[in-house]
Symmetry: C2
Subunit: 457 residues, 2 copies
């Protein structure tokens, strides 16, 4: 119990289980919210005594917890879900680039609105979004999500480095004018096979000068390792041909993607490495020693045949790791519940040991862990007095939740995005009893079908 | 189009997508049902022309497909979900046995009713249920599910073999009197570490004489392999102590569990091997050559730290493989959608190749493949004229299904048990617009909470 305020300003949210994350679940718990902040988290009777006359919203058979922090997605690609399901990473990215060329700015915007809506309805309150067109910023802003919107950068030809940086800088200035209080702009050099060493360095320097955060796809696929280590494979040949880059810097670097990036001075606490599937113990040491954080995307990595990131080793090394759903183009849906349990099945299945990961570990990673990975844990990630009021309620009335022996278990093994019925970001209710409060579902669906037709034409 | 009947007897079910399994999905399709059978599966306009005046139930934005065939579960253990989530198989089974001792017949019945309800609400129309107490037969019968209800048998002490078989025979006679048209009784010798070779043989002989089907847990855990191969490990020591068997036949057999069972003449087309995690190429050859079928339970195997069954190799060997959810005591929920996508993530992740399994493969395994594994494919598993009307409708209106590029993809990557809103078994509607028609949800929930309290006491 932190403070008492004027009762009329306080809203008390009550549920069978409140899961603060930083302390044990509270049976018949409540969270008191004032404005954009949490002011109390405790058993309902205590909260009720502290704020007599406050408005009480009783969710009954529900789990009340911090909103999920989705460290990595591409909202613009929501309309691509299910379009290319059965290709390995290399052929997948080639085909994906072909489909991308069919869409224009408004199409990407339509797709991003759908993606932002899915975040809200699936209980994601903060998203790390890698923007290709930059269109998703509008969708994020209108939706009311909290976000770090990273502008993607690509460029392999150093002859155009200055141009690339000038355009990027201009784009970033433009984007910064469109953010509200809840959105921060970051930088996203796409990957080792689409961004030159010089561009990586220039971006890292630019970001550090301005206190901006950087993220990048790192060690996602075997194709990437082959390209960096040996200068060959399909990323050196087919991809270059596909995107029409005539400057083919195919010299082998002879190292892993992580070691390669280390040379260009991009690693630091402001850098998030997305994926990290193809990393060995020494790569992990390097990243851990630079306090690099990781976005773990188990579904995307498995579905694309990339493999399974060594999550237990990343955690053992003390790295800050959160979950990313990746884009619906690879993982089809942005369901953090699915990411959590898939991580458990993958890592327990491979290690043949249940001790590597449990439901509580996953819920921590999906909330406070993600907030730490994004360096936002001073504001979000747990239900504690003083933190911003980002929280969700999950319905546990369905018969497959009966009985609840443990709320972490019910959440991770039993729930999915459709059980979320209430989403609050920064004290604002953006989803209530399964109704979107900030976005027009009908319009989004109609727009998405138009995008679909373009993709299928 | 198979036959035309009196229009007043025909019900036509229409949906955006009808998925017959044995042929391509039909956009704006329909299924005509007469009594307990399917009489037509075709585009809606054709079905409509063939049966003018027939009652049309239009599901609109939905997928209509055969009900799932869940090859392996233990409905009696529904109340155990989430009770023991973080133990490896060996310690898990020890603790599980301890919890089981707290329950009596009516408790198992209450738990089985909850399990039967979950099957129906999650789109399972046929279940292969391994019964410990035998109580789940009532629940299955009242629910209206189609089932093979296997009576479990345990016994390691051959001095009591005749008694065990006599009691088993008596129990089976009793059970057979309680079945209706949709339930068949089978035999389930529990596992290699709880059933002696002589008892396996006696059961196989008994079953063959009566044309009954047999299933058994086979090669589930590393502990089982150690026990059979070396006569030691925790199944030889702790488990025996726990269950109080003083006859400890701990001699090492020096072979794998599959090779061990092969010696006792139990394998044949009437035998289903559940799990098959710890099987090598020669084990697979043995099983394939005897036309043994397999229940693949990817979630349970991974969650218990048992490992990942070599599904691609089982399928390459031409074995009949279906999915099993296993019991909620291990996998928490009986969601076939989760089993399908978990299988894709596990096998693609481990093999680093998308070609090992896709969504259509999984839907086939979850329906007709399961029916083949249970030797019921003459009646169920696909939507075809002449087959029994076992079918489900899945809602695809939620925004994470938008847009649908491919119905198989939407079903496997996007849907889960809560999207099922209609379940028909043998032409009877047992779940309609998310309302259970044969079971009392309120009573089940109350009973389950009593069982929970016993388990937690």
């Amino acid at each position: 119990m932190a403070e008492t305020g004027a009762p009329e300003e306080i809203q008390v949210y009550r549920a069978t289980w409140v899961m603060p994350i930083t302390s044990d679940p509270i049976y018949d718990g409540a969270v008191a919210v004032k404005g954009d902040s949490i002011v109390a988290v405790a058993p309902f009777d205590k909260v009720s005594d502290a704020f007599p006359g406050a408005r009480v919203i009783d969710f009954q058979d529900a789990l009340l917890l911090p909103g999920f922090v989705n460290c990595h997605s591409h909202l613009e690609y929501a309309c691509f879900r299910g379009l290319i399901d059965n290709h390995n990473f290399g052929p997948w990215i080639l085909e994906f680039i072909g489909f991308k060329a069919r869409l224009n700015g408004p199409d990407y915007a339509a797709s991003a609105y759908l993606g932002a809506a899915e975040c809200i309805t699936s209980g994601i309150t903060t998203v790390g979004d890698a923007m290709y067109s930059g269109e998703s910023l509008k969708a994020i802003r209108q939706s009311g999500l909290r976000a770090r919107a990273y502008q993607e950068a690509l460029g392999i030809d150093d002859a155009h480095l200055d141009d690339t940086m000038a355009r990027l800088s201009e784009k970033l200035d433009e984007l910064r004018e469109q953010t509200g209080d809840l959105i921060e702009i970051g930088l996203f050099p796409h990957a080792t096979y689409t961004v030159s060493a010089s561009l990586y360095r220039a971006i890292a320097e630019y970001a550090r000068e301005r206190g901006m955060m950087v993220a990048s796809h790192v060690a996602e696929s075997n194709e990437e390792t082959i390209y960096i280590r040996s200068g060959t494979g399909m990323l050196a040949l087919d991809l270059r041909e596909k995107v029409g880059w005539d400057h083919l810097s195919r010299q082998p670097f002879g190292v892993t993607p992580v070691k390669y990036l280390q040379q260009w001075n991009v690693f630091g606490p402001d850098f998030m490495a997305v994926h990290c599937v193809h990393v060995g113990p020494r790569d992990i040491d390097v990243m851990a020693s630079h306090d690099v954080s990781v976005a773990h995307c188990p579904k995307s990595n498995a579905k694309l045949g990339c493999g399974i990131a060594p999550l237990p080793a990343l955690l053992e090394a003390g790295m800050r790791v959160g979950f990313g759903t990746d884009s619906p183009a690879s993982s089809n849906i942005m369901d953090m519940f699915g990411e959590m349990r898939t991580a458990i099945f993958l890592h327990r299945g491979v290690r043949r040991d249940t001790r590597v990961l449990n439901a509580a570990d996953c819920v921590l990673m999906a909330t406070l862990g993600g907030a730490r990975a994004m360096r936002m844990d001073d504001r979000i990630g747990s239900l504690e007095p003083g933190k911003q009021a980002d929280m969700i309620a999950v319905d546990i009335k369905f018969n497959h939740f009966t009985p609840v022996h443990d709320p972490y278990s019910a959440l991770v093994y039993g729930a999915n995005q459709e059980d979320v019925f209430f989403t609050m970001v920064d004290g604002r209710v953006v989803y209530d009893r399964k109704v979107l409060k900030t976005l027009d579902n009908e319009k989004m669906t109609a727009d998405a079908l138009e995008v679909k037709n373009k993709l299928r034409s």
